[in-house]
């Protein structure tokens, strides 16, 4: 897959193989519905976080995952050459990628990237998740650098 900035101030993802499409579809699949609940664990009961904030955030996070999924499925269905992320959709993409990475970290607890040696991850599923996490992080960095800069 080739990824690069566009003149219009966006980011272009160009999938070249079937595996590239699969990994883009995995962004929404890697994210889970527990994030708002995990964030709420630090709040005390008086705050009513569980009743008020958690459902709202779950809805917001779910929409991010759905929007990215729809965009990837649509582009694949239309056999589009590339997926364009413009300024308007950058926050949604960043959020969905972040959810995926937070869910992977919650499941595998890799810890800080600089302390991980992927060759030492024995479980194939965990190793695959590690590389997806790395790939998502690369897209996030490019979004921050080329699209979300103010």
């Amino acid at each position: 897959m080739t990824i690069g900035p566009t003149i219009a101030g966006g980011l272009k993802l160009v999938p070249e193989e079937d595996e590239d499409w699969l990994i883009l579809l995995e962004i929404a699949n890697d994210g889970d519905s527990d994030l708002s609940q995990r964030l709420a664990t630090l709040m005390d009961e008086d705050s009513m976080w569980e009743d008020i904030v958690v459902p709202e955030l779950e809805q917001e996070f779910s929409k991010q995952r759905l929007d990215v999924m729809v965009e990837v499925v649509k582009a694949k269905g239309e056999e589009a050459e590339a997926i364009h992320i413009d300024k308007e959709s950058a926050e949604t993409w960043y959020g969905a990628l972040n959810q995926a990475r937070l869910a992977i970290e919650s499941k595998y607890t890799f810890g800080p990237r600089e302390l991980i040696s992927p060759g030492e991850i024995e479980d194939p599923e965990a190793r695959s998740a590690y590389f997806r996490n790395d790939f998502y992080c690369t897209i996030q960095s490019l979004l921050l650098r080329y699209v979300m800069d103010d």
């Binding site: 964030l39 709040m43 005390d44 917001e60 996070f61 972040n98 937070l102 970290e105 921050l144």
Partner: protein, 96 residues
């Protein structure tokens, strides 16, 4: 004779806020959120300068957690809500 101004009565909320210990918005470190992103979020939510946001972001990263705001409970909850919406780990604590 000089007029004496009537004392302004403070509302119960104002008095409570003055006498109660303040609430602290605390951001916690995690291995996922990118440092540049954390700074951006602090600027957007609290209106910090880039320098201030970077300083707080580094404190979160190095110390594992840092206080980013102090004040009343209601406003603190609003800020934590916004931080959670940005997917940062944050909480509200009462000052000791």
């Amino acid at each position: 004779m000089k007029a004496v101004e009537a004392p302004v009565r403070k509302s119960e909320t104002q008095i409570r806020e003055k006498t109660e210990k303040p609430w602290l918005v605390v951001v916690l470190d995690d291995p996922v959120n990118l440092m540049e992103y954390v700074s951006r979020v602090l600027i957007r939510i609290f209106g910090f300068s880039k320098e201030k946001a970077d300083e707080l972001m580094r404190a979160v990263h190095q110390q594992g957690r840092t206080i980013v705001w102090t004040g009343g409970r209601e406003k603190g909850e609003m800020y934590v809500n916004q931080l959670h919406s940005a997917q940062l780990t944050a909480t509200l604590e009462k000052a000791e």
